[in-house]
């Protein structure tokens, strides 16, 4: 299954680097497995890019409290719009993809809990632990094994 990993964040802003670091780790251990894109924010034209894939994984840091420090959620198209031209949600990009290109890849969001976001700050210890856990479990999941399963439910991932 042709899969795209999109890391969202900013490598210079503390735990906002989590999305990019997740991709770096995957790239280092298994460079040929996934196509990868790094983004500060998702944009409207990303709908065109994801239309070329069967599966897309959006990896991003989150401020939300998550029990395990990370979560993998199914992402469904949703019609919403942020006022700026260059910040859109994964759900909106998926919606645009479905509306404009008559196709929508199976999509998931991998959210990893972060704590600090200031310019120049390093990754926090807590975020680093969450990143390791998320990577470890992701590598054992069906998403990583590239199965041909058409529909994967969130609870079946691990």
């Amino acid at each position: 299954m042709r899969t795209l990993l999109i890391g969202i964040g900013n490598g210079s802003r503390g735990d906002d680097a989590l999305g990019w670091l997740f991709l770096n780790e995957i790239e280092e251990k298994d460079p040929q497995k996934f196509d990868m894109e790094y983004r500060y924010q998702l944009q409207v034209e990303d709908a065109d890019m994801i239309s070329q894939y069967e599966r897309v994984l959006f990896v991003d840091a989150t401020e939300e409290l998550i029990p395990k420090g990370f979560a993998i959620k199914k992402c469904e198209p949703a019609r919403s719009y942020y006022f700026s031209s260059h910040v859109q949600s994964p759900e909106t990009v998926l919606y645009l993809c479905k509306t404009l290109y008559r196709t929508a890849p199976e999509a998931f969001v991998i959210a990893i809990k972060g704590y600090r976001w200031e310019l120049g700050e390093p990754l926090s210890n807590e975020a680093s632990e969450h990143l390791e856990k998320a990577l470890k479990l992701f590598r054992t999941s069906e998403l990583y094994k590239q199965t041909q399963v058409k529909e994967i439910q969130t609870e079946e991932l691990f």
């Binding site: 034209e45 719009y81 404009l100």
Partner: protein
């Protein structure tokens, strides 16, 4: 009771700002302000860096038009190493121009399709949940796909030239670091990976036709909405043709009389000064010879159509002539014609890109960088998508930057955007008992026509949402609108 309306943030613009409209006891507009309330940083923190870093560092002040800052800074830094535009090699000049036209093409496409078209397609009073690019995608799929594809074409060409779609590098002091490979070039001509340059020209032409049709149906709106007299500024070739990369500065007043007669960009300090206001971080440039009150100029597509004598590419020139046949005047002072002018420029850039993509000089790997006698001062001026952009650097004997002055396109339009807000306040909001969302959107429509990049204009650090506030005559806040 008098009151103040606040629009915060102004939406579908690049960056964030705030509008306040002050009404008197009877609901008449007393004062209006378009505030830019951000910290201004790049002019200061570039100081102490070596000159050669400038083209890469300053482009970070924007994610939409970094190429414009990259090239304006590069032109200035060329002079630091003793290279004026005429001394740059032919190949390097053409590669920079190709990058520049790709940038304007993708930026104009973004503005029209993502930001402006919802107002034109659905009306300024349409519900906000519909009045956005998602609404365009749902109801005008073909238009939205073309918009995304046109932006993609420009971005892919930028990536081929500069290594990245955003914040890449092509220019180095005195030239460029690479040329284009034949197989890279062919990607944009053969249409195998994505729509080719001929399709871009065709679609650009269609967009101009769309605007002509819109004009036929909505002429009164385009003619009158936020229309006001002003000066216009841009750059032209020696023969008066529109010039986007390296021209002479020309300004005219609202009737077309010359206020700045084709002067060398390096002399800009002789002619321009900048005023400040305590309610905005954005400066107010003006022509010294005309004075602060009437010496400010609009810049960008509308101004460029006004100041040039003709356009060098055939389809865009034909479109320019038709544009002026409709407006019936050599100078157009109607804000909403900016959209039409922007689409003519989009077509012009598509034609220019094709010319250069077919030019063998862009494949030449020799003579990419030149050196001259070092200088202490460098000034680079180009026409960015939003208008005339000035970068000015001074270095010490070790080549460290000791002074930097940036006059960003949106800064020139500061007065114009404030005038546009005032027009809407006076003509749409004044004396109305109920202020609707549609009325407030018209304030944004007026600002949006200038495609302001508020982050660029203040060299922003951090977030910049736009807020509108309504104050009574005693200064008490009685209403506001905020978009985060």
């Amino acid at each position: 009771m008098s009151k103040t309306i606040t629009i915060d943030p102004v939406t579908r613009v690049e960056g964030h700002g705030r509008v306040t409209i002050h009404l008197d006891d009877e609901g008449n507009v007393d004062e209006t302000f378009f505030h830019i309330v951000e910290f201004r940083g790049f002019e200061r923190f570039i100081q102490g860096h070596p000159y050669w870093q400038a083209p890469n560092l300053v482009q970070r002040l924007c994610g939409i038009c970094p190429v414009s800052h990259h090239l304006a800074a590069a032109k200035a830094i060329d002079q630091i190493v003793g290279i004026d535009p005429k001394d740059l090699s032919t190949g390097a000049t053409k590669l920079r121009r190709l990058l520049h036209y790709a940038q304007i093409f993708q930026s104009h496409a973004l503005h029209f399709f993502y930001l402006a078209s919802p107002d034109l397609l659905f009306g300024v009073d349409a519900p906000p949940e519909k009045r956005n690019v998602v609404g365009v995608a749902v109801e005008n799929r073909d238009l939205a796909v073309k918009g995304i594809t046109m932006r993609k074409f420009g971005q892919e060409l930028i990536k081929a030239l500069a290594g990245k779609k955003i914040h890449g590098t092509l220019a180095v002091p005195g030239g460029v670091y690479k040329s284009l490979k034949a197989e890279e070039r062919d990607t944009f001509l053969n249409g195998k990976q994505f729509s080719n340059i001929d399709t871009m020209i065709k679609w650009s032409q269609e967009m101009v036709d769309f605007m002509k049709d819109y004009h036929t149906k909505n002429r009164e709106f385009l003619d009158t909405f936020a229309a006001f007299p002003s000066g216009h500024l841009g750059t032209v070739k020696p023969d008066g043709a529109l010039e986007l990369y390296d021209g002479k500065l020309r300004a005219i007043d609202f009737k077309g009389n010359s206020t700045l007669p084709d002067v060398e960009p390096d002399d800009y300090l002789e002619y321009f000064s900048e005023a400040v206001a305590k309610w905005s971080y954005m400066k107010f440039p003006y022509l010294k010879s005309v004075g602060r009150k009437e010496g400010w100029n609009r810049v960008g597509p509308l101004a460029r159509m006004n100041i040039c004598d003709y356009i060098s590419t055939p389809l865009a020139e034909k479109a320019r002539r038709e544009y002026f046949e409709f407006t019936g005047s050599s100078v157009n002072n109607s804000t909403m014609y900016s959209h039409w002018a922007r689409l003519i420029e989009t077509l012009h850039c598509a034609e220019l890109m094709k010319e250069l993509l077919l030019d063998q000089d862009i494949l030449n790997e020799d003579d990419l960088v030149r050196e001259g006698n070092e200088r202490r001062v460098g000034i680079g001026i180009i026409e960015a998508p939003r208008g005339t952009l000035t970068h000015h650097y001074e270095v010490d004997d070790k080549g460290m930057i000791v002074r930097c002055n940036l006059i960003v396109s949106t800064t020139h339009n500061n007065d114009a955007m404030n005038e546009a807000v005032k027009w809407v306040a006076n003509n749409v909001i004044s004396r109305e008992k109920t202020i609707t969302e549609g009325m407030l959107n018209q304030v944004e429509v007026a600002i949006r026509a200038y495609d302001p990049c508020l982050s660029c204009a203040t060299q922003a650090m951090g977030k910049m949402p736009l807020k509108a506030e309504l104050y009574d005559h005693e200064g008490s806040l009685i209403g506001e609108k905020t978009k985060n």
